[in-house]
Amino acid sequence: MSLLRIKDLSLSIHGTSILKQIDLSIDHGQIVAVTGESGSGKSMTALAVMQLLPNGAEVDGTVQLEGEDLLIRSEAEMCALRGASIGMVFQEPMTALNPVKTIGDQVMETILIHKAMPLAQARARAEEVLTRVGLPADRFPLSRYPHELSGGQRQRVVIAMAIALRPKLLIADEPTTALDVTTQAQILDLLKGLVREYDMGLLMITHDLAVVADMADQITVMRHGEVVESGATSYLLHNMQHPYTRMLFEASGHQVTLPKPPQPQPLLEVSQVVREYRLPRKGLFDRPRHHRAVDGVSFTLNRGERLGLVGESGCGKSTLTRAILGLEEVQSGQIRLDAQPVFTGHKPNLAVRRKMQVVFQDPFGSFNPRHRVARLITEPFHLLDTPPTGSDRQDRIAEMLTAVGLSPDDSGKYIHEFSGGQRQRIAIARALIIRPELILFDEAVSALDVSVRAQILDLLAELCEAYDLTYLFISHDLSVVRTVTDRVLVMRSGQIVEQGETDKVFEAPQHPYTQTLIAAAPRLPEIEMISA
């Protein structure tokens, strides 16, 4: 008998169909990954098992845990099951814990709410579980509050809460999406270890196919609320039947070909840049402490070159980006574009600013919702002494929209009328419209689904051909940086620890940190794409 068996599960919320006849089963000790792009219904499947659906949800079908149908259980019976027989781990460790309660209380709560054991024993169990997930009590006492822990540590606490009563089934909804690669690798190892040790079933929801291929025994691919394809991992990876599955895998490992860069001729020169932030004092009479976000960084970006900047969160890459853009002044060192300083005196240098543009990560936050596309993408004209007007302006708008794969007719629309991928195209159009010498892509494809990401990467390659782009591509995603850059910088704790040609760095990393980073990144298996 399977541990969990979902049959013909359909779900609608306020009449809108979300899931259509889902079938899925998990055995003890088995890891089943449900994957798909946003809107595929994979998270809703997990919430349906927990019976934690939003208001107005109507469910049909059966969800059996060891033969018992969960859908006909009362709410009180489900409360008794949740946390005891089924545990769940969520995506956002930063917000998944109650900020005003200690981690010990929160882990103990799982035990006490089910009246599984008396207080003293519960405390001992909480310590034991926290130690098991890598937070030993001597370094992480139960009295710690969530805000005193890092994201990865908080995710460990969430896992501890979920496994405190050794549930038979653990559901993990994008458990590592918000984490850095090295932390991700540790959390994935932890989950794998727990499955083996407790003989749990693990239902893993993730969009990351590399993670899926690496972890899962079984894969279920979903799209628009339906199961597209499912099967044992090793079999499915080599025998993809459905075109959508193939497209998904192809897009995840999407490669583009860039034109050859021209002869090196420096454009952006960064030398010995330092940016410090003041930290709040610890004690009343302590000296103020400083955090060096950028610590003596030097590099050169040549004209026509595509340079990557990789590093984990908090490594200083965002601060460096802002400093290059002239949004923040640096304490020491120089940033020059075309031999001119980005900052003159204490003011950003306008002559330099008009040679730079940026594309940001968030396709939803990058545009003023109250302006039309024409106004949005012409905002950089503000930098020009004589911005084009009249039909000249219209022509530039039309040219740019066409160049990024949209229609000139889109110029009259508002931003909410576009999808995430289209918005990122508009962001690129805005960056290109004044033909800057340098474009910064700040995590520009990180928020996109893989299929859309592949399209944007293709667009980038096309634009490199058409406009001889020079760019700095900042990302935490190693596989993307690998394909769209010629050279790469690896940043850690405010310093560049390694730089070199992209292929060389990835194939033979020299610095131990680069080696760890590359080893930790989950890799898509080599898949022979079936030609037929």
């Binding site: 709410e75 409360c79 946390g83 969520f90 900020p99 004690g283």
Partner: protein, 315 residues
């Protein structure tokens, strides 16, 4: 924690200093000379001079300001122009009415608002919620002094459960004192309770949407358990802010409500002082009210730290 408290304390002292300068400056620009006002137009020049000296009206502005502040620090608020009695004594007498009234009202308002807000949030969108929300919508719209008049009409004039006005004094026992403050306190408390209940409800509803509430449910807590164990304490953070703000409204409100019930509190004192142009009394009462508001907000800041561990450790 200590650093946080100290920082708030310094900002409290600065606020008080600036507030005292503002109040002093406003009173300074008042036209007319209190001494000639008190003695009438036919007063002799030398009697006027003597009175000015007695009232401390001579000397530079800075000198008089420092005298005033210095006096207040040791409990000397000066001498009333009209009654020729120490202002501190007059204020102390009245404070024994106004302060208990404000605290009584604050307690009532909190006791009503917390259960109402939690109840409404727990039954979001259901009839119970709609009833509470409708009642609070009305409660916000009712002017407290009008509500007070209606209370008098019903409970004092028709039902005769309470006196229509006046204060029996604490000399007749705490119970009698509280009894004569009950109608005024209800009049003050209900409109504030309506606001507080709405804030409590919306704060709780915000919290219900937080990720950690879903985590709590995944641990096996029922909706209600999650609300009580994880919701209420987090919701206290915005609610405390409003309680702090409400204190100043209760003080101001009590000044008006005292008029309805003929209570011998600070409100009556200040209106008598205004009509008698007894500016030293006005000045001192206003300073006292501002002091109370600033101090209460300081206490609210400390209460934040008690509720929110993030504040405790940050600085």
């Amino acid at each position: 924690m200590l650093r946080y408290a100290l920082k708030r304390l310094i900002s409290l002292l600065i606020s008080l200093a600036v507030a005292s300068v503002v109040i002093f400056a406003v009173i300074e620009v008042a036209p007319g000379d209190p001494a000639s006002f008190m003695l009438g137009v036919n007063a002799q020049e030398d009697t006027l001079a003597a009175l000015r000296a007695e009232l401390g009206l001579n000397g530079s502005k800075v000198h008089r300001y420092l005298n005033w502040v210095g006096g207040m620090l040791v409990g000397d608020f000066g001498t009333s122009y009209t009654y020729r009695t120490p202002v501190s004594q007059m204020i102390a007498d009245r404070l024994w009415v106004s302060l208990p009234l404000a605290l009584y009202a604050l307690t009532l308002s909190t006791l009503i608002a917390f259960p109402a807000g939690i109840y409404a949030a727990a039954r979001r969108g259901k009839p119970g919620d709609l009833a509470v929300m409708g009642a609070t919508q009305l409660g916000i719209a009712v002017p407290n002094f009008w509500f007070a008049m209606m209370l008098v009409l019903i409970f004092a004039i028709n039902l005769r459960w309470f006196n229509a006005g006046g204060f029996v004094g604490w000399g007749n026992g705490v119970w009698a004192g509280l009894h004569s403050l009950t109608l005024p306190a209800i009049a003050l408390a209900l409109p504030q309770a309506a606001i507080l209940a709405r804030v409590m409800r919306s704060a709780l509803l915000d919290i219900l949407g937080e990720d950690f509430m879903r985590t709590a449910r995944a641990k096996g807590l029922s909706r209600r358990q999650a609300l009580w164990r994880h919701g209420v304490r987090n919701a206290l953070i915005p609610v405390l802010t409003i309680i702090g703000l409400q204190f100043s409204f209760l003080l101001a409100g009590s000044i008006i409500i005292e008029q309805v019930f003929y209570l011998p509190g600070l409100g009556r004192l200040v209106f008598q002082a205004i009509s008698a142009r007894d500016l030293i009394v006005v000045e001192s009462v206003v300073m006292l009210l501002v002091f109370a508001v600033i101090t209460v907000n300081f206490l609210v800041d400390l209460a934040y730290a008690a509720v929110d561990p993030r504040l405790r450790s940050r600085t």
